[in-house]
């Protein structure tokens, strides 16, 4: 039998939590811890009459519920929109109907209630063996605290204003809190995946704004609904929020399946013996890391990942596998033909034209043609060549020799791409995509 062996994906080595810590995350954890300590101290100093117990319980429960139903978003993100609605609404609660008593509580109480609610909501996740999502919780806590510290001191001032002003102020303060949430999220993500901070911010804003809009409107509804109807309103309100979240969950789910499918089907070239086992996955991992280093935004990275995964798909049209599998050893004319065939296959789908474009130009030299190939194609070309020469080996000499060979050929390989590739190959980043 000529079929190649199946590449078994080695499970990523589980790191202890402290090993995965980096500066941004430590900063966040410390900030959240200080907030919690301050809130605990404030709580002790608080006179029981200053706490609206029913409101604290209702909103704390709402937050816990929201933490329980977290939402996975594209790109391995996790959000808790319902918890966010609960916490933000509690931070900016203007009033409740008379029989519920006054709501002149302190910002520290908000921090305490939010922290306790989130922790309670995270417990079932821990019990089920999932990650507690500590980073996300800390991010939300910091954002909510910002809102509470801005809004609680001016509550009576806002409460006395006209309705339009009230809505406006609530909306503005929410935007501030949401921006804090997004910025901290971008900071952590930039650290995690090795992206530039500016790119990470833009990615985060683009991805999060629809959800932010829904959360913002829901916060306003919750605040004024509670003012009108009391705390029972929260119960009514949770239904539509869940439905909205369901819509997002389905969207994120199909995106994940899509990526898994392309990843799996890209392996048909390996099973059929056209390329070495694990080749497409390694190339895609390298290409994405290089693209990130070059500051590509997330949609471009996704196209790059798809293109890198499927860059050899054109080989399926060859009747027999190329000996050794490596496309590097094939004549340039054949390389171009394979690239064209692959682009034709992908173009057939009609929805991945940008991916097809990247695959089409993957064999074209970086210099000598005007206009040159797209950046993504040059990245795939370099990553493919590197993997053809080095393969799965982690031998530093081999990888240095391969890089040297590519550096000496600036017509074929773009110098900028090779420089970042060298950096990435030197790091051999843990494969968190």
């Amino acid at each position: 039998m000529t079929g190649g062996t199946i590449a078994r994906r080695t499970p990523p080595a589980r790191m202890a939590y402290w090993q995965a810590l980096d500066s941004g995350r430590i900063l966040l954890l410390v900030a959240a811890a200080m907030l919690v300590i301050a809130a605990a101290a404030g709580l002790i100093a608080l006179h029981p009459s200053q706490v609206n117990v029913r409101a604290a319980l209702a909103f704390g429960g709402f937050i816990a519920f929201g933490e329980l139903f977290r939402l996975a978003l594209p790109g391995g993100r996790e959000a808790a929109p319902i918890a966010m609605v609960g916490a933000m609404a509690y931070a900016m609660l203007l009033a409740l109907p008379r029989e519920y008593g006054p709501v002149t509580y302190d910002a520290l109480l908000v921090v305490a209630v939010a922290a306790i609610g989130m922790t309670v909501g995270a417990l079932p996740h821990i019990a089920a063996g999932r990650s507690a999502g500590l980073t996300g919780m800390c991010t939300r806590l910091v954002a909510v605290s910002c809102v509470a510290f801005i809004f609680r001191p001016i509550v009576s001032l806002v409460g006395g204003a006209a309705l339009g002003i009230q809505v406006l102020v609530v909306a503005l303060v929410f935007v501030v809190g949401w921006l804090v949430d997004t910025l901290v999220g971008a900071l952590i993500r930039a650290d995690d995946v090795g992206a530039r901070f500016s790119v990470a911010i833009r990615d985060e804003l683009r991805l999060q704004w629809p959800l932010g809009l829904a959360v913002g409107a829901s916060v306003i509804i919750a605040i004024f609904g509670a003012k009108q109807l009391g705390l029972m309103e929260l119960l009514v309100f949770i239904g539509p929020l869940l439905v909205t979240q369901l819509a997002f969950r389905r969207y994120a789910g199909i995106r994940a399946t899509y990526l898994q499918t392309v990843r799996s089907l890209a392996r048909v070239t390996e099973v059929a013996g056209y390329v070495e086992a694990g080749h497409s996955r390694r190339v895609s991992r390298l290409a994405v890391a290089v693209g990130r280093g070059l500051g590509l935004a997330e949609p471009e990275l996704l196209a790059l990942e798809y293109a890198a995964l499927m860059h050899d798909i054109g080989q399926l049209s060859l009747s027999d596998p190329i000996p050794g599998g490596a496309t590097l050893l094939v004549s340039p004319a054949d390389q171009r033909r394979i690239a064209e065939l692959g682009a034709a296959v992908i173009g057939e789908a009609g929805v991945l034209d940008d991916v097809a474009e990247l695959v089409r130009y993957q064999s074209q030299p970086a210099r000598g043609h005007e206009p040159g190939p797209p950046l993504g194609s040059m990245i795939i070309k370099a990553a493919n060549a590197f993997d053809d020469m080095v393969g799965g080996s982690t031998d530093r000499n081999r990888s240095a020799a391969a890089l040297e060979r590519m550096r000496l050929d600036p017509v074929e390989y773009d110098a900028g791409v090779v420089a970042v590739l060298a950096e990435v190959a030197g790091r051999r980043v843990p494969s968190r995509l």
Partner: protein, 453 residues
Amino acid sequence: MVSRAARLYIGLVVSVAAVLVAFVADRAMMARHQPPIPHPLAALLTLQALFLVCDSGTTPTTSRQTRWSPSSSATLAAVVLLGPVWAALVGATALLSLQRHLRLAERLFNGAMYALCGLAAGETYLACHGVVDGSSPHDFRMILLAFAAAATVHVIVNHGLIWGVHRLNRGMGMSRSDGLESSLALLLASDLGYACLGLVIASLWRIMDWFAAALVLVPLFVARWAMGQFAEQQRAYAATMNALCQAVETKDYYTRGHGDRVSRGAVMIARQIHMSAERTEAIKFAGMLHDVGKLGVPTKVLQKTGPLSEDEFAAIQLHPMRGLEIVREIGFLFEALNGIMHHHERMDGRGYPMGLAGHEIPEFARVIAVADAFDSMTTTRSYREAKSIEFALGELREGAGTQFDPVVVEAFIAAIKADPWQMPKPAAKPTDPTTVTVKDHDDPTAPLRVVEP
């Protein structure tokens, strides 16, 4: 398009709605009942506008599992703010729906149906001692119960009437269809979830007027955006899958389009035996990908004429396992993987790769096996012309019990009777001889032979 029985039914629903609304309106007039909010007419118009906007947002998803129509929130807000007659008027706005593709009969039916829903919900609300515009918190608990009852009645009337039209007229595209057969629970949950928004609108109305409606629209639009994205991704996904499967099939001239057709056949069977929408979706992909493992079989084995050696036969027998290796990491239903893995098992236990028998074979595999063999027989091979559909069905019947599951075979025959099979265009003679497979391992009329040792 619309059957006579369905026409009659629609006429009945419309007249009942008209009579009931007139009757209740008359009673309200006699009692000189006026909605207790300041500008009832303006409120009515706003809610009608809200209804139309929400209604235009029913996002059909390709899997047709759910249709998202949050328009009930407008009707239910009217129930609390204005009372039953006005709620019926809000519901009747469905006549003017902004969905252009609706035919007159559908518009009439939708208008009458939503009017009836509004009326029934409004009467229920009053019967449960709900207070129209009683948004003071004092009696909010009471209102909550009454509202829950009203929302439930709204959902029941809505789905009941649609169910009726479906029974009488399968395949007619009513504005909210397909729901009942698939994931009813999900649909009901989302309907009730959106219904809650009606109470939120009503309670905010007193302080914010129309702004309450506008505010509620924001999360609705975001949800709709997400559903739109979902549908788009799903389409893109299916298209990509198709393209990749075609790429896999280019290696073999005669079996091009095979995966696609098997997928079609498997879905027909799945519908016939009333599989859930989710499982039908999974079997569609399983059918498409069932032979993907053939790529791991050397071309020279696939193209060999004459009997196979033991080793070569083993290579062919391994292809379902290879397919499984490729697709294992896709987040499919486990069942789809089973279908790919076992699509060459036989009921008598003489199949491969595991030699399972009878109902040990997973249902997906039994379905795919029938669709697979049928397509193999009805398409041209290098060693024979395509057989007729009748012949192929006869062969399937013959093999029922030994090779195929009789229930599945009967279901397939019934499905083909109801919805005739589109024969693929006869393949033109291939120009490139390297792409011709001589043996077809799927063909029950020409089983693989192994050289006796």
